[in-house]
Amino acid sequence: MAQSKVQFGYRRNPDQDRPAGALAEHPVAVVGAGPVGLSLAIDLAQRGQSVVLLDDADRIGEGSRAICFSKRSLEFWDRLGVGSRMVDKGVVWSVGKIFHGASQLYQFNLLPEEGHKRPAFINLQQFHAEAYLVDRVQQLAAIDLRWRNRVIGLEQRNDQSVLTIETPDGSYLLRANYVVACDGARSSLRQMVGAEFAGQVFEDQFLIADVKMTAEFPTERWFWFDPPFHAGRSALLHKQPDDIWRIDLQLHPDADPAIEKRPENVRPRIARMLGHEKFDFEWISLYKFQCRRMEKFIHGRVIFAGDAAHQVSPFGARGANSGLEDAENLAWKLDRVLRGISPEALLASYHTERSAAADENIRESTRSTDFMAPSSRQEARLRKAVLSLAKETEFGKRMINGGRLSVPSVYDSPLSTADLDSWRGGPRPGASMLDAPIAAHAGDLAFLTEAFIKTGTRFALLEFANGVAVDPPDGVGVIRIGGKDGLLDAAGLVGARYDAEPGTAYLLRPDGYVAARFRHPTRTVLDAALARAAGIN
């Protein structure tokens, strides 16, 4: 089987040659160079922070693993300068179909409207995504990426952590003001802080096969309940780049992994599914999964993100995407705290916002899993009823749960300023900004998300023209829609999506979430909203 991987070299770093009394001191050490750690390091570096990024391996993992990256993740990656590369390589999709037996029950479109820079999803092998992120890291002098640097010890002091790091040359120590653990589901940092990681274990096993073939299936997510080629269980088919197709097959809970995983046993199943044998295996993996999270994402000066902090079932693409949302949520807060322009208390909102998001992701993915693998006869009966009702009723179709795909959480956050005005629509405080097409007089911007990037992904005021002009607070970017020198809302979609009237203004956080919104802002209310959003009370 082909194994796609990129090899990186271990290099000795100057911290290893320091005497014991003069340890190197870094503002941030990120542990784990997966999609979350890499993205976080890039975001921090673009904000001007120096980052040491440690990884225990010296290559990008094999196997496609996470393959579905959401619109929100792509918008984040656009801010990191890698979005286009991901989308150019990835397979764009927005339509999912659900089958029961041989017949289609339901079809959904995750982005049914025009006027967004990014699609609902792309499928892209995780190793491609990681390789592009590593390329970007290598353009940034502020990131010191150290392969084969395994953290084996953690000592937390008052305002610092001391890490013991093992390398092929022996071990060394370094001090960091903050450590961010992005070291995956089996996080060793999590064990070092002694945190529990309890949750629900699912007994059903799933087999993942990546097969290489040329096929004419459309680029859609196809999910089957009880398909003719895999009676009584579920199956999922997804297209990836490079003529690779991801196939997930649910197995019986008592299936023997060692036997099931053998290519000669997988092949007949896939052949039955595809109706032919003209394919080769790229990767086969068997998994069981758990839904669980850490009780606290912050332990002193050690902060947890991604799978290290929370794990979900894979149905819904909520693993890597929620980890990337962690990274975008944390980066700007950590940057402000390190600069001393926000108090350390701002970081507590990372836990508040992202642990609630983890709960939501766990809830959604647990429901999907329970629907796919009913745990009692009555649950099976209820599912059967839903599937049979779906043939002739709209409500039945909507109740089928073959995975609810990742959408950004809406934060119930201490950083948000509650609406005082009345709104008929638009993203409320705590929701992520919505994209829409624009045209600049200069002509180089096509989307609102691009205008946000151009302001420097800091706090920004999105304001609609012909109200009373308000001087924005210091350091706040301005995106002005309409008026003499503003961006053109030619299609009227910015106004519509933000329920705008003349003078309407949204205060956006550096991660693109709405902090506050006003029909007729004054400098006083803007200052107050900004202080609240920056954790300054």
Binding site: Q378, R381, L382, K384, A385, V386, S388, L389, T393, F395, G396, M399
Partner: protein
């Protein structure tokens, strides 16, 4: 809207009869299938999660009462 437990049918016996008749001639497994579908159809018709939860709670209380009664008889 709260769960209505006052009598809503002009002829309650007709409603009860309609449900009973739907189960006539069915095996226990078929009856369970029918009930599962019926519950989902009616829940969707109600379309109010609070009312549904109240209905579930009422049904659960009734089960609890029944099991306590059974224990007392023993």
């Amino acid at each position: 809207m709260a769960l209505s437990t006052s009598s809503n049918f002009a002829k309650p016996d007709d409603a009860f009869r309609a449900i009973v008749e739907a189960h006539r001639g069915l095996s226990d497994a078929q009856s369970a299938d029918l009930d599962a579908a019926l519950v989902l159809i009616l829940a969707n018709h109600i379309g109010d999660l609070d009312v549904l939860r109240e209905a579930i709670a009422l049904a659960q209380r009734r089960m609890l009462d029944a099991s306590q009664q059974q224990q007392q008889q023993q």
